[in-house]
Amino acid sequence: MKKDNAAISKASFRSRAKKDIRAHRTIYIMVIPVILFYVLFCYKPMYGLLMAFQNYSPSEGISGSEWVGMTHFIDFVKSSDFPRLIRNTLAVSICSLVFGFPAPIIFALLLNEVRQTKYKRVIMSFSYLPHFISLVVICGMIKTFVSRTGVITVVLSGLFGIPQEDLLSNPGFYLPIYTLSSIWQGMGWDAIIYIAALSGVDAALYEAATIDGAKKFQQMLHVTIPAILPTIIIMLILKIGQLLNVGYEKTLLLYNPVIYNRADIISTYVYRMAFEGQQWSYTTAIGLFNAVINFMLVVFANKISGALTETSLW
């Protein structure tokens, strides 16, 4: 009896599918290029991840290469580069989290207090201008400005008496340069989402608070911040999920061998070992390791936030 049912539902599935496809033939044809894109450029590389468990040789391909299991992952964790890479990656991302994350929130809160609407718009437009300048140009400007004769070096050495040298060849300056320039790049743009959330706050709440005698600062603390808290938390979860995904493009453009000890991060190490050292499998394994940790971080952050504030991604 059960078998018959299964057979019927199978047959009816097939006939339903046929009917559905026939009825919507054009739209299914239209989506074929889209599916093709996802298969070719998203799913095929995922299959390529298998090479993390092999000694991949480009001439043999994945089917012909020798399987080695978890060897590359173990090698990476045991390697002498591991502590340095983890330390640098975490240093950069925690710095961006601690300084880069609150910056747009504070900016949005302060901007919200500006009463002159025109002035407000002007500030906004200028604030996210750097977002549209290409990374190569930004890094080029940074490099020129902090070079031995660059304007920032000269001004800083005039003010604080630091030695006049190429600041990017001094490991101690790398982290501040990276973090500050990232804030410059992203603050205005990242603030837009908070500004949008702020504009949605009910004005009646402020009126009520004022009548109850709340001062400006108290209003901010008890009305404004609670109103945009869900947005802040979502952004924070997303940020935490990127903790090990430091912008490798920017690092590649800014760092140099003299400061590898401080500036080299997991993704740039992968890039160098792969494209300069041809260690394809080893680097794929590192990339996968990185992605898995990132994913666990998002899930973890999401769980915590769901438990604490009832705001979560899914």
């Binding site: 496809i21 739209i27 070719l40 390529g48 190569v136 004769t149 394809w280």
Partner: protein, 293 residues
Amino acid sequence: MKIKRSAGEHIFEVFNIVFMALIILVMTYPLLYTIFASMSDANRLIAHNGLLIKPLGFSLEAYKMMSKNSNIINGYMNTLFIVTAGTAVNIFLTSLGAYFMSTDGLMFKKPINIMIIVTMYFSGGIIPMYFNVISLGLENSLWAMIFPTAINTFNLIVMSSAFRSIPVSIKESAYLDGAGEMCMLFKMILPLSKATIAVMILYYGVDHWNEWFNAALFLNDRRLYPLQLILREILIQNDTSAMSQGVMMEDQFAISETIKYAVTVAATLPILCVYPFLQKYFEKGVMIGAVKG
């Protein structure tokens, strides 16, 4: 009812306005400095220490040097091709996908949707991606800048939610008038979603304009280099030799500095020129993403 503000609040307000002015200054000064420096007299710029509030002297020598350089012109051309062809492919494929995602009553919609969303969380990573592009025969071709980034899933979702917001009655009446699916998408849906399409063109276009990493991975032939790769040579790898040829040795160091600034200006100017006109769309795009994403 007007509520009196305390002295403290007044002080805060003044401080805030000044602080915001400072932010404008910080955001724009690096660019202003670059523009001033690019028009300065090379030798005076080298001798100068500190900030600039106007060009030192006036010389367009650096721009002349730059415009004689075939690499830059060539790079501009390649970038122009990548931006236009790439964005066209982006918009075409993204709107096809978005149209599918926004259509109801399809049996295979859910599995295809899931297949698309999964890629937002998982990807093969850089090395499998590299081998994949090579195996598809795209190495050393400008199409390697276009096909692997043909659809941005986040943009796809934004676009499909825009399509979904179009009233069903409009679609129904078009069907009654005998419109097919292609006609529906390109003659009805797209014209009705102009604002969203504008945002998408801007997002994709700016991405293509700024792209350098894939170019560095896949292009070996210098004649194919987009502008950003040429810029990287000049600004990051500090190679201005190709441009300062024919200049006397003692001037070379100085002029190479101003060339760097001039190149920066030339690469940023197009975006700065369209910026004031487009920025209201940019904001709108973020809002759409914020609400739906």
